[in-house]
């Protein structure tokens, strides 16, 4: 696999996607530097329109919305990262083992993943969070545990497609163990597709996380964009800024992930 960055950024979609995702990561990493005020501190007059001091206005308690949005982006990024760290290894492991071993193992693993696949993820997350109380840990856990199954199928399909290819056969002939072949030959082949899938998955995760926040199920001690949007509902007529900025930030995050995923996908297809 050889990546050529100059060529990589040749479509506008790829440029925008990369830029947005990079921006989100930078904002998430430097949230405390960019917005120095505590997003929970009631420091200004309530319901102020955007001004130089409060570039995105304040909410009904007089909290700085700019700081809220910046820290909300960080929360979204944290959730996405956490879910990725659970779903990616799980999906690759299950898909890889199923594809490489085949037979009964494959059958059992795929039946098992099917059950997870038909589970309506949003409803499961809604039930778990509503029943066990909100918290970033649970959101990450429930979304991570319900997101790996499709990835596993994608990885399995990729593995199946190379199982009988020459370079794999060559490795077998060379006496490599099955595990080694899976790890060294097959998985690298499946990785790009897995990354595309995970990127698109993270866009969905951000959507679900914000939807839960909108329904009042976000962690009360970590500000999130969905929470901010739900607060706007009561003040729709009075304070448009409470509605506008959290939504724009969310759209930026999701568009970023989607474009990035599409761009990687185009790149892979182009290579084949």
């Amino acid at each position: 696999m050889r990546w050529r960055p100059p060529q990589w950024l040749r479509t506008p979609g790829a440029v925008i996607g990369t830029a947005l995702t990079a921006l989100v990561l930078v904002v998430a990493a430097l949230a405390d530097v960019i917005a120095t005020t505590d997003p929970f501190a009631t420091i200004g007059p309530p319901l102020t329109v955007p001004t130089a001091v409060f570039p995105m206005g304040t909410d009904d308690l007089g909290r700085d919305l700019f700081s809220g949005v910046i820290h909300g982006v960080r929360t979204s990024a944290l959730v996405a990262l956490g879910v990725g760290l659970i779903a990616l290894p799980l999906g690759i492991l299950v898909g890889g083992v199923a594809g490489a071993r085949g037979g009964l193992v494959d059958d059992l693993l795929m039946r098992f993943s099917e059950v997870w696949q038909v589970l309506p993820r949003f409803f499961l997350a809604l039930m778990v969070i509503a029943l066990f109380g909100p918290g970033l840990d649970r959101i990450v856990l429930v979304l991570g545990l319900t997101s790996w199954s499709l990835l596993a199928r994608v990885v399995r399909a990729e593995i199946l497609s190379v199982r009988e290819r020459e370079f794999v056969e060559a490795a077998r002939a060379g006496g490599s163990s099955e595990w080694r072949i899976l790890w060294r030959q097959m998985l690298p082949h499946a990785m790009p597709v897995a990354i595309v899938f995970v990127t698109l998955l993270l866009a969905q995760v951000c959507l679900i996380e914000s939807s839960l926040g909108f329904l009042g199920l976000s962690d009360p001690n970590a500000i999130s964009l969905g929470y901010l949007a739900s607060q706007a509902q009561r003040f729709l007529r009075v304070a448009w800024w409470m509605w506008l900025f959290p939504g724009l930030a969310l759209i930026a995050i999701i568009v970023g992930f989607n474009l990035l995923g599409d761009a990687i996908n185009d790149r892979i297809r182009g290579r084949r």
Binding site: D38, D60, G216, P220, N221, R234, R237
Partner: protein, 551 residues
């Protein structure tokens, strides 16, 4: 000894209710006990249709088996209590035309109005009252069961229009507990021999109230029509009441402004000024709600926890609270800073001039220093010589609240951070909240809307009585034990003379303010709004009984 306290007819009751600026009754005198059956000469009607917005699907329409605000909002127009409560919480005749209090308050004799019929035409009698209490209210209405139940010796029907309540000892608050919210009367012939919680009449109710049931489409609308045979001559004026379920308050206000509905139960603070300026819309302020009245948002301290067992820490929290901001930023002016542990809505029991802790961050800081909570350079505090707490423990407290009270937690968190107390918010849905606070007692602080009700015996005693610490939701959350206070409450319950009773409650309030098991934050009030030409409302209970929408 037999004292005839009140013998008045419907008219005087209405005059008392007319303290409400919008209630403008012009009833013809009905002649007290000798009044002719109302069904023979009903006037009234012609008031048109009133469309009411309600926020939640009631599920069923039987107010006698639940204290749920949703059900009571939608069903109180259909029923009556033995008495009503006027704006000053004084009992006025409803199904009972008059009453005598005997034996220093251990016996209440009610003389029922004659000629009252249920919506299906069956006559209303004393048997209905006895049945309702014995088989429905004292089993299923949790507040009435908990307060009246343990003190009641028996209910006797002496003739079809007289019913007697006998108590084990003098019981002062009874007359405050007989209105349609605390004790709606249901029909014996409908509920006899059935499980009242499952009777089909709960969704097809038959009452004695000013309006009769027409239809109920779940989560959508409830239709009521005028009770032609209502006992109050000339009322109701409205021909029809339609209740529309519109869950979002914002949408309710839009519907009111567009003229799709005529009445909303609550106006959000930010919308109040706009509605006030609208010439077609009138506002009506009240502290009484169908689910409970005279509510005080109250922060409880868990006295079992070592940190909060220290009075100085509780006082520090109270001094760190700028309660004015709660009124301004959360209630948008719809309420008042609480000036006493008992609501100002219960005039005789509300104490004035108490030494409530005022907002004083410096004082809060020095109290915490004294208690051994030393501030670091970043302002956060940690234990240094606090009894029962290892040195270095950060001053971080867990704060439980209903999701709907999140704003209180957020503002309090920000205010307490100023003096170095860290508050971690934990929103819990009501059932989980109740279990965590009252059964498991797993919390540091919480906030509860304690509704005092029309009498301290209903909604205040439960907060302080040491016998009420335990698994019962919304009882003594702090875990407060003070034998003096317990004794004072018991005495107040037996004291019929209201001035003497008020003095006992004053002593109670002085003691609990000194002990600070709670921090009383704000008294909340509600703003109703209605659209002209509809007029003649009162803010609570049978709010539309005297209203009319005719131009």
């Amino acid at each position: 000894m037999r004292r005839r306290l009140i013998v008045i007819g419907w008219v005087i009751g209405l005059v008392a209710a007319a303290c409400a600026p919008t209630a403008s009754p012009s009833a013809a005198p009905s002649g007290g006990a000798a009044s002719p059956p109302a069904s023979t000469g009903p006037t009234g009607g012609g008031g048109g249709t009133l469309v009411v917005a309600i926020g939640a699907d009631p599920g069923h329409l039987n107010p006698a088996i639940t204290t749920s605000g949703g059900t009571h909002t939608a069903s109180e127009l259909l029923y009556n209590g033995l008495v009503g409560l006027d704006d000053g919480l004084k009992p006025v005749p409803e199904l009972a035309e008059s009453w005598d209090v005997e034996g220093d308050g251990a016996l209440y004799r009610f003389h029922l109005r004659s000629g009252v019929t249920w919506h299906d035409g069956t006559p209303f009698t004393a048997d209905d009252v006895k049945f309702t209490f014995e088989e429905v209210l004292l089993k299923l209405h949790s507040r009435t069961r908990a307060s009246v139940g343990p003190n009641l010796a028996g209910i006797d029907v002496t003739d079809p229009l007289t019913v007697v309540f006998r108590f084990n000892q003098p019981y002062a608050p009874l007359l405050q507990q007989l209105d349609v919210t605390e004790a709606p009367i249901v029909a014996k012939h409908i509920y006899n021999g059935s499980d009242p919680a499952k009777n089909a009449a709960n969704t097809k109710p038959v009452g004695t109230g000013p309006f009769a049931f027409v239809s109920y489409s779940p989560d959508s609308e409830i239709k009521l029509k005028r009770n032609e045979a209502y006992w109050a001559a000339g009322y109701p004026k409205l021909d029809e009441v339609v209740m529309r379920i519109i869950p979002e308050t914002g949408s309710q206000i839009v519907a009111l402004e567009k003229g799709e509905v005529d009445w909303v139960w609550g106006v959000p603070g930010p919308d109040e000024a706009r509605l006030e300026a609208d010439p077609n819309i009138e506002l009506l302020r009240t502290d009484r709600n169908p689910g409970g009245s005279n509510c005080i948002m109250t922060v409880s301290f868990n006295l079992d926890r070592p940190i909060l067992g220290d009075l100085r820490v509780r006082q520090a929290v109270a001094h760190a609270m700028d309660r004015r901001q709660f009124v301004d930023k959360i209630l948008f002016g719809q309420g008042r800073v609480a000036e006493a542990p008992i609501s100002s809505g219960i005039g005789f029991a509300h104490a004035t001039g108490l030494a409530m802790p005022a907002y004083d961050a410096t004082r809060a800081g020095s109290l915490l220093d004294e208690a051994g909570w030393k501030a670091a350079a970043d302002g956060k505090r940690a234990a240094a010589g606090v009894k029962g707490v290892p040195d270095g423990t950060p001053l971080a407290l867990e704060f439980l609240h209903f999701p709907s009270f999140a704003r209180y937690g957020e503002l309090l968190r920000s205010q307490l951070a100023e003096v170095g107390i860290e508050l971690n918010l934990k929103p819990l849905d009501p059932p989980v909240f109740a279990e965590t606070v009252f059964t498991n007692r797993a919390f540091d602080m919480n906030i509860i809307s304690y509704c005092n009700g029309p009498d301290p015996e209903i909604g205040v005693r439960r907060m302080y009585d040491s016998a009420q610490i335990g698994a019962v939701p919304f009882s003594n959350a702090a875990g407060y034990r003070n034998p003096d206070v317990d004794a004072l409450f018991a005495e107040a319950q037996r004291t019929i003379d209201q001035a003497k009773r008020g003095e006992l409650y004053r002593q109670i309030q002085e003691r609990v303010v000194a002990d600070q098991p709670y921090a009383w934050v704000v008294e909340t009030s509600s703003v109703r709004a209605y659209r002209l030409p509809c007029t003649g409302f009162i803010g609570y209970a049978q709010f539309a009984a005297t209203a009319s929408c005719a131009p």
